[in-house]
Symmetry: C2
């Protein structure tokens, strides 16, 4: 929904032109995206594993956020034709390329935000 969303197109376009960071935030801004990238990176690569790691996120949200990450090509979704179904998530090259930047941001957070 977010991608082709109903939000005023010209606003989005203008903002993207003015602040290209907006594109980045569209990709990373979701409430659980960064946590998901980390967990997938750590090898929690299946839906049920991610749910176990984050018991407070609903299945609907998890599915939604994963779908968006996949559409933004940060995460790869590999389906095995088995029963019960098996799906494995992993970071794409693009997803991996984000990790160092996120780590810098994380380091900033460590220094500058208190829990």
């Amino acid at each position: 929904m977010r991608k082709a969303s109903s939000t005023n197109f010209s606003n989005e376009a203008e903002l993207a032109a003015i602040c290209p960071m907006h594109n980045v935030m569209k990709v990373l801004g979701g409430r659980w995206k960064i946590a998901l990238l980390y967990f997938i990176h750590q090898g929690h690569n299946r839906f049920s594993l991610l749910q176990k790691k984050m018991p407070f996120i609903t299945t609907k949200m998890l599915s939604q956020q994963l779908k968006e990450l996949e559409q933004d090509e940060l995460v790869l979704r590999k389906i095995y034709a088995e029963m019960p179904p098996r799906v494995e998530y992993s970071l794409t090259i693009k997803g991996q390329s984000l990790l160092p930047v996120l780590e810098d941001l994380y380091a900033w957070g460590e220094l500058h935000t208190k829990s």
Copy 2:
């Protein structure tokens, strides 16, 4: 049947414990925060100037986001006791310390997101 973590608070706390990036995103995640930091950094340091730069943001949103940036100590708000009122915004040290990280993120965006 443990209705675990039913309150907002425990969700936030749990999430912050699990993903400290969440704290960073709380500070930067707002729809216009990063753009605002950039513009203020560039010297568009007054309410009306910022509005001119971003004609699509409502006064309410602008005021709200600036207030949050101020509360998070990324932005300094200096009030001059004049009439008509004058208020000047600038980045705090903390706000400035964020710039290099944002630039890295920005560079990633340049490489990996298409406008």
